[in-house]
Each structure stands twice: as C-alpha cells, then as structure tokens.
Symmetry: C2
C-alpha cells in the first residue's frame, strides 16, 4: 500500500478489504481474453453498498479509474485492468437477499454465480432461465453488465428480460433504486434498461431483483446431421413451427472434430457439414409424437441425413456436451473469437459469403463456426496455426475481422451479439453504431459518470 | 398561416400537409384527458421521415415546441398541445412496410393503429400480442412512447418486449436506426430501450420493427365471483400454478354495476365484492380438466362463490365485455383516473389501506377499482358526484391522489403503471423517482434534445 491514494482509501473505509498481492492483481486484472497484461493498482473487495459508494467517491476525488469486476469470464476484455485501475471485485457481495413467492422474484447481490441463482430458484420450484456454459464462474452482475444471452434466448430472451429491479451506484457515487421489482412502471426513462448491457461504464450493480418463472415441461434433446446451410434453415423453420423449442444450436464438422478430440463421444459413424442440437418440450406422448413426425419429415425432405433423440437425461446431457464443450475444446489453440449477429433470415447468405472470403484469403486458418441459429448469433473462432507466433496471428485475425465487418455491414449485423464491445471490439464499434449514436452514448456516459472513472477506455 | 414561422415551415417543406383549421387544432390538440384547452399553432401531417426531420430542424431554428401525436388515446395528457406547440401527427405514416417470415417481424410506420398491426400479423399466421381496449384508435408509435401494457402483460410483457428495431428522429433532427431487428446485439447502450416509454420527449418514432409470435392454443375464459381480497390473491396464486394464463383481470362490484347499467348483461343473480376474468390455454381435454379442477378447488376452499366458464367464443367475448367495457361505462362521469402499480405481493395490503382511507375521507365518492392483478396494476377511477362542479371535483381528487401517493410510497409502488406521467402525474413524479434519477433523466433529455423542443413540459 505504498501508493498514497490507497492509503487514503484504507483510511476512509477502514473495514474495506484491499489487496495488492501480485497473485490477486494478476488474477483479478484479467478476463478470459488473455490479450492484455494485468496491471491494476489494487483489488478492492467491498462487503456492501456503502463501501462501493465510498470507493466511487474516493475514485472521483483522486481521479482513479475503476474496473467493476465479476467472474471475469468475459471474452471482450470488458473487465481487464491493464492501466493502473482499481479493480472493484464483487466477490464478497454474493448472497441471496430475498425470495418472494407471490412476486416470483429472487433478490441477489451482484457477486453471486449464475449457477447459484439457478439453484436458489429451483429450491423454490421455479427457474431463472438465462443459461450458458460459464454458469459456474460468471456472476449475475457481469451478466447484467453485458445483457448476457446464451443457449435459451430463443425461448426466454436475454438477461434484460429477467431484471425486475436494479440497485446501481453511478459514477458520482449515487445509489439508484431502479424499478423496484414492478411489472409495470411507466414513470419516465427506464434507467434500468440503460444500465443493462452498459459494460460497467455507467454504474456498478449492487443488487438485482430477478424475475423467475415456472419450469418448462419435460424436454427431449435431438442431434441432427444436416448436409447444407439452406437445409439447416428449413429444419429451423419447421422446428419453430412444429415444436416448442427450448434451444436450437448449430455447429460445424470442424467444431465436432475438436470436441470429440477433446473427449466427447462421436455421435455418428460418418461426418457431416453441420449439426444441430435442439431441445424441445416433450411432456406427453402427443409432444413426443410431434417430435418424431418432425424428424421423419426432415429425413424425407433430405434436410437431415442422420439423427438421435435422447431417451434419458444422461443421453440428453451427452448430446449437449457436443455443443457446450466446443469453447473448452478450442481453448488450447488460443482462438481469436468473433461473436456476431445478423437477422435470422440473413444467416445463410452472410455465412456463405464469409466462408468464401475466408477460404480464399486464409486457406490455412482453421475456422470453427457454432452458435445460436434461432437468435441469428454465430460464433466464429479462428484457431492459431502451429508455427505462427501469437502477435502475428492476432494481426492476421484483425484483417479477417475487417472483412467480417464489411460483410456484416452489408447484412446489417452486429460485431457483438452477446460478448460485448469491451476492448476487443472497440475498434469496430462504428461498424454497428452510427456516429450520432456513439456521440449520444458518450453524452449519456458523461451524465452518469461525469469524471469518467467507470471502466474508462472500454466500449467507448 | 399568418404566423411567419409557419410560412417558413411551408416554404422549407413545400409538400408538407399543414393545417390551422380550428377543428383540427382542437381535435389534434387533446387526448382522452379533456382537462386542458387545446391551443396548438398548427398541425403538421408528415408523409415520411424526411419531413419529420425537416420539421424538427425547423423547430430548433425557430424555438417552436413539438408535440408528437398518435391516436391520442392517452390518459395522462402526454399528447396535449395547449401552449402554442406544433402538433406532429403521424396519421399519414400508417403503413405496413415489411413482413419477414423467417425473422417473424413486421415493420410498420408509427401511425398504424394497434388493431391494424394485429390484423397484419394474423394474416401471416402470427400474433402481435400486446393488446388493450383502445386498440382501434391508438397508434403503435404512441404505444412505444408509453411502453403500453394492457391485458396480456402477464403472458407477453409490455410493448418493450416486442420492439426489435426502432427508427427515431431525435430532438436535433438526427435519424437513429436502433437495433435493426437483431435478437442479440451487445454493442453499447441500448438507446431503443431508452426511447421506449419516453413519452415523446427524446425522439419521434418514425418506424418500428415488431417481433411477432405464434398464436397461443385455443383458450377459455372464466368469470369468478370472489368474496374478499385475500381470497382473490389465493385464486391468483392457484391459477398461476395450475393454468397457463393469458390474462387475469379483476374488478369490483361498483365496476360491474356501471358496466351492466351501460348495457352489458349481468353474469350472476347476486352481487359479490370482487370479480375475476381469467383467460387460459384450453387446447385439449387435459387442459380443460385442469381448469375445471382449479375451479372446483376454489369453490371448495371458499375463495370463489360463483363462476362461469365460456363454452363458445361468443360467451368468451361477453365475459370479456364486462371487464373491457368498464372505461367506456364510466366516461360520462368524467372520472379522475389513477393508474398505479405495486409489487403483486403488496396488492392486498395496499388496497385495504387505500379503501379505508377513501371511505373515511371521501365517503361520497364513488370509487371504481379494476385492473391487472397479475401485474400489480390497479386502476382507481373516482367518479364525480352530481352537484359538484368539475374544478372542485378535480381539486378534491388531487387530495385523494396525495393520500394515494403516501400509501404508494410506503408500498414502493408507482403512480403510473401504464398511462405514463405526461401532465397529469407530473406533480407526483418525485414520489416514484428519486431526485438523483430525475436529475439524470433531465441530463439525458438534454443530450437527446438539446434545445428542449420535444414535448416540453411533459414528464419532466
């Protein structure tokens, strides 16, 4: 604590847990991107809202930048602290504060893991339906800061839809109690929705009231082998029409190769260009019969060439592993990740154009596609070829991204579907938001964080 | 057009339809509130976005206030022009621009009536699920400006949830193309959500891309007679648990008296304190059996003392008329309307306190309660006693509102659930939003409308 600013912080908030331990600085200074060298001045672990407010006021007085920090499972560098910031870790504010059976709400602190939220909801016979692979590590505050999406968006929407109330500390240290858990509240600008997805640049979430819902009926999982992209879109349209979908995910043969090489069991004897994992309601014989009829029609039409339907929870989990294991199976290759979205109807044309561009310009790159067809959200992972050093690889990938941005612009898509802009996509923000929009965002940032202490350099 | 500012507007936009006809000024200068004397300088009827932008630029140059104007079915004075404003009527921008079957979206101009949106969706086998009694007159632009709720919120949420894209002209005349119909788009502050519910004070909606969904299964409607408020809450909890609800509405005996006096058929021989209209999925015998079992349980427990289940669409419509006809049946009494919300769990305590206060302080007032229990949204209509003149009546009602505001504050509710703040609730904005929030709203307004030309005096 040789930094006099930290000494002052410790004096102002004597109970505040602070660390300058090099291990802590490294651990809390980075997210899953691993592209920046962590260099925060310290890590603060506030225990309550008052400490968060005290930190923010101190930061204003001493012109110290703050990085609000959750589970740091982000992939856009939004929680990186590489420039002498104070990391405000919400790890200690991780409790369930209240459950209300009539309102069907769960009030939690921001540092609670998504999986702990799932468990708390389930204890009361309800669900919090936002879900994705990082559930064990990511925190709800971070989910809110990025409006996290995931694998059930097609049924339940993004995080935004499940936030009934939000307590936030602004860049001036003021505590806002937004919406207070109301279902209907037409009383002016909904600052709650402004906060959701603002990547820690407008406020620090200190409490959230989450809406819960009834569990869906029993479901089944289907794995389908699909010969071509246009067939895949037909399968999707038919599934949307005939089944009540919980999820509709796709991945390519390259993705399957990686995930089976990483230990998952190959589902079919042969390889196919595309695979779909679909989960759908199958509460009774009628619903199961509808699923079978859907599958048979897809086979007859030639849209699907092979398939499996789960007959047990274990089999359903094994099929899901093929999709959910992809990210982990690629991690060793330090992939360059793009997380884009287009309108669903644009997916086939966009994908065909991008695949042609990539094959022509970067024939040596192993490009793995997977994602959420039902949301128009595609993850494009470029793997580092052996022998190419990492900085050169990233430089080449940025050229790929430039191509991607051009193609996206023509298809009116977004350079970030669910990962956020952070540091990684900041150079391309202007491809998705107009100069007028970016100027308005900067103006709004100034209103909520006049001294620019909240996560500066991220997003804007 | 003797006003030189209007002459200049006509010169700048020679194709723009403008009217200073006294009938038009009166018609377009007021909404359903009837508390203010219309006094706009003129009505402009732009035919396209370019004309809207031209009007806004002219308004900035000449310091003329603008009132964006839809169907003017609002109940908060949000679309009133009583101070020499230019009314910008979106009546001529009322077309369906596009339907996309894969994306399940309908792109429309702002002046289209909600009912026309319903019809356009249904033509394609889909639904736009936001619905309320003013559907024939209200316009989608106004729905967006107030984040309209209505009778299906319990199942489908408010308007906010169905807006996939929004084109908006800001107070500086800039055209923003927000979110472009994407399902997932994590690229900074979601200005779309800031616009929704901003009551025409931040921008003028010139185009909206609406998300559609599959029609629900066949449904039934149930009318229940309920002896007490705590029983009503038990009926709601049980219905939520056992049925898949489309709507769960309540009204009091006073409401039923008015609606039957106004021509609706009385459902029961006797009168009861509370009534519920519930609509729920009844696609097959299993669902119908569940509804019957629910009803029988409610009768056995004594929560319900009489009831009817619809056995035809005509009967369902007749039951709905009892609820939807209330507003019209009260109109002749020039009721003073309060549209409040509390968390669902707070409804019984809030209602008991309010009813006691009203009975004690205003024993002569006929107070009619109805609303959306499943959203915590209660409509409290105070009817003018004969012999009391209107200004004196309003003055007394404002005293009632002061009591209401006190009680709401203790229950953490909102003075406006779905009508908006406008002019009517502006004196009480500070009861639901903190000084910090109001200051932030004013700051944000300044960013989007620097010269304060958009609907000044409303909301803030």
């Amino acid at each position: 604590m040789s930094d006099p600013r930290l000494t002052e912080l410790a004096r102002l908030l004597p109970g505040l847990k602070l660390s300058t331990d090099p291990g802590d600085l490294e651990h809390h200074g980075r997210d899953w991107t691993r592209r920046w060298t962590p260099a925060p001045i310290a890590i603060a672990y506030p225990a309550d809202t008052t400490e968060v407010q005290g930190i923010v006021r101190w930061a204003n007085d001493h012109h110290v930048a703050i990085v609000p920090s959750g589970g740091r499972t982000g992939l856009s560098g939004g929680a990186v602290a590489a420039a002498g910031e104070l990391v405000v870790s919400l790890d200690r504010m991780n409790k369930v504060l209240d459950f209300n059976a009539v309102d069907r709400t769960l009030t939690v602190q921001p540092g609670i893991a998504l999986e702990a939220v799932h468990n708390a909801a389930r204890e009361h016979g309800l669900i919090y339906p936002v879900d994705f692979a990082a559930r064990g590590s990511c925190q709800i505050g971070g989910n809110i800061a990025t409006n996290a999406g995931g694998i059930r968006v097609i049924r339940y929407g993004n995080t935004r839809q499940w936030i009934a109330g939000l307590k936030v500390v602004t860049g001036s240290g003021e505590l806002l109690d937004l919406n207070k858990g109301l279902v209907k509240n037409a009383s002016g600008y909904d600052l709650r929705h402004l906060m959701i997805g603002s990547e820690g640049t407008l406020g620090i979430v200190v409490e959230a009231t989450l809406a819960l819902t009834s569990p869906p009926p029993a479901s089944q999982v289907m794995l389908l082998a699909v010969p071509a992209m246009d067939a895949l879109m037909k399968v999707f349209a038919e599934a949307q029409h005939r089944l009540r979908l919980e999820a509709f995910e796709f991945f390519t043969d390259r993705a399957l190769e990686h995930v089976t090489a990483h230990g998952a069991q190959a589902p079919f004897a042969e390889a196919y260009p595309f695979y779909v994992v679909a989960e759908f309601d199958a509460a009774d014989e009628k619903a199961e019969a509808a699923a079978l009829a859907f599958f048979e029609q897809c086979m007859e039409e030639g849209w699907v060439v092979d398939g499996v339907i789960s007959s047990s929870d274990a089999q359903a989990a094994a099929l899901w592993r093929l999709r959910e294991g992809i990210t982990e199976s690629l991690a060793a290759y330090k992939p360059y990740k793009n997380d884009i979205s287009v309108r669903i109807s644009r997916v086939p044309a966009f994908m065909a154009e991008m695949q042609a561009l990539l094959a022509e310009g970067y024939p040596d790159f192993d490009v793995v596609w997977f994602g959420h067809i039902g949301d128009g959200n595609l993850h494009i992972n470029v793997l580092k070829p052996e022998g190419l050093d990492y900085p050169a690889f990233v430089a080449q990938c940025e050229q790929v991204t430039a191509l991607l941005v051009d193609t996206l612009a023509r298809h009116e898509g977004s350079i970030s579907a669910e990962h956020g802009i952070g540091l990684v996509k900041k150079p391309w923000l202007s491809s998705v938001r107009s100069p007028a929009e970016i100027a308005l965002m900067a103006g709004i940032k100034k209103v909520l964080d006049p001294n620019g202490i909240l996560n500066p350099g991220k997003l804007l």
